[in-house]
Symmetry: C2
């Protein structure tokens, strides 16, 4: 098992390094042919984003733009993309190190010799160059050894093998106390072992993780419990995708009953417009929305503990109603119900019944009745 991880990681580094070399050699060939060196970069604007209904993913289309070195409008970003390529290949992959986008910015920011021009003024620029480079290579930043901010915690009857350099740790997620295991930034190296779970319950809120962990919910119900602590980080999304694909257990999502909760869910499931090029690696199309739904408010008699929707909620709901990935009749009905009643509810509003109502009644009922939204 350990050997396998090792090989996989080295293979991955080799694979991406080769891709970068091919890209570099193509550029050199162009230079040798005295052509204007260029990169083909898939367009990421909304006019090149579509919803792939069959695969349930928000995807980039085929449109590409050519970025030339000898073009005043392109030269700066071309140079920045090359700085990214050099940093990724020579500093990160060659040394088997990972870094943040900010590290890259600091490392490659300098004044170009003999000029007053800086290679990078603001991190925004190098961040965009990184995305250009990802899509040009048809890969994602974690494979380039670039880390995003981690967030999220897990507990459940499962062992993960995680590797830091040459050290492989065997982490028993059923023995993480009240804290849980912190979901890392990069999860490519993780392997799953001793899997005793029948589904994954991913909650938007830390408070729900703490409640269900204290109630021993995951042990009693044979599930893996995860909180994303708000909008899910890349590491958490990728890990959910991998669990869905590799362990093949259902993934149920639990958010507040409001448009922001729906957004958190849909981003984890389908990807997002802004990161459409990443849906393949970050989306989790098998995910189901367990709750809390607007219908739950009536069904569980929570009217007294609802919150009046704000204008921004209404506006967001109206937008979402038109998204292709919310066109399912069940979702249209849900959104209409929200727009009609103009109330939202937090998942913690179940505490108005009693503190353990969520683990003793609400979740078991919803799961047994398969009361999900698509």
């Amino acid at each position: 098992m350990v050997k396998k991880t090792e090989k996989t990681r080295e293979e991955k580094i080799l694979e991406i390094t080769k891709k970068i070399e091919v890209l570099g050699k193509d550029l050199i060939a162009e230079i040798n042919r005295q052509e204007n060196p260029h990169l083909d970069i898939p367009i990421r604007g909304s006019n090149n984003v579509f919803f792939d209904e069959q695969n349930k993913k928000i995807q980039l289309g085929d449109k590409k733009s050519k970025r030339y070195l000898f073009n005043v409008a392109h030269a700066r970003r071309f140079m920045q993309t090359m700085l990214v390529a050099s940093y990724v290949k020579k500093d990160l992959l060659a040394n088997n190190l990972t870094a943040t986008l900010r590290d890259l910015y600091y490392a490659k920011k300098h004044t170009i010799k003999g000029t007053k021009e800086d290679t990078i003024d603001e991190q925004k620029e190098s961040d965009l160059a990184i995305v250009d480079f990802e899509v040009a290579l048809e890969t994602f930043r974690e494979r380039l050894h670039l880390r995003a901010e981690p967030k999220g915690r897990m507990a459940g009857d499962m062992v993960v093998l995680d590797r830091v350099r040459d050290k492989v740790d065997k982490i028993d997620l059923s023995k993480m106390g009240s804290g849980g295991w912190a979901v890392p930034s990069i999860v490519e190296q993780i392997e799953f072992q001793d899997v005793g779970i029948e589904y994954v319950l991913v909650a938007e809120k830390n408070a729900i993780f703490d409640r269900l962990n204290e109630d021993e919910y995951w042990a009693k119900n044979k599930c893996l419990l995860m909180t994303t602590a708000g909008q899910a980080a890349r590491g958490a999304r990728r890990l959910l995708q991998r669990i869905s694909d590799e362990i093949k257990v259902p993934i149920y999502c639990l958010t507040d009953a409001d448009p922001y909760g729906w957004y958190i869910y849909s981003t984890m499931k389908y990807g997002s417009m802004a990161l459409a090029h990443e849906s393949d690696r970050l989306g989790c199309p098998q995910m189901k929305f367990l709750g809390m739904s607007i219908s739950d408010i009536e069904h569980y008699d929570l009217k007294a503990v609802t919150i009046k929707a704000k204008d921004v909620d209404i506006k967001r709901a109206e937008e979402m109603k038109n998204y292709d990935w919310f066109k399912y009749p069940a979702w249209q009905k849900e959104i209409d119900k929200f727009l009609d009643k103009k109330i939202k509810a937090e998942i913690q509003s179940l505490s108005s019944k009693n503190l353990q109502y969520i683990s003793s009644t609400y979740l078991p009922e919803k799961i047994a009745g398969k009361d999900f939204l698509p």
Copy 2:
């Protein structure tokens, strides 16, 4: 070991339950004497906050206010404080359960029979009643089984025993992979075992945790590594205090070189004005500021990667200069240097040297040279 934790937890519950009963009996005695029932509540305003120089803590003074039931200005808050008392005693302590402030709000919010008056309109009200109740009982909310939002991750050569209800988990913090162990909301039940650390390094940023963890810094340097992921959560602060008191190793703090970093540090070390009543339980007076200092910018030749200070930074620095807990000559010099140069630096700016400079050079040099600020 396990037995001991169990007893301690039960003892703690018993102790606080008794305190609540005494408070309740005093009120009933007043009622029986036909007096106006009242609570003595320490005043938390800035005119009752002082810096205890000897114990290095921002503390509450002796001033108390009396809150009466039969006083139109007091009655509502008096009632809300009683709701808090009832929830803590009957719902939480009696069942050995914990809850969030929001759970309490939802549980105790209702329309008073025969009126149109709600017990609690907004959570702000019950939150204030909770603080009243904490200070009146001379305790802190974790002992009342109230959870705050958790944040932070840890790794290092140490074992912690953590307990969820009757289950005790033995967590080896040296085998947490790239994620780390998530610091829980409540850490009262935690015990330390097999301690192989010589100091604690607490970093403001997740990115620094990831960098140092990948560089195997904590293993090579026999330290416990923690990130607070921004302003430290209560659980992280309490845990640092307990490690400092019980394991008696130095605690070094690593933040950006800016007033916000100093604020994060000073809150962990001394407590804060707003939570002066909690400094005893959350402060960590032995903590030292390792960096990054404004002086480091010169010393490590980082001028090219500094950031221009904003007006809000300058204003904050000018305020902090007057705080009693920043009156140390070394800090006054540091703040003056900042106000003079008007530049700040992020800890990641060290990545402009090389990615591992922080773990190979910066930290070892600073620690060996005892280059700390008080």
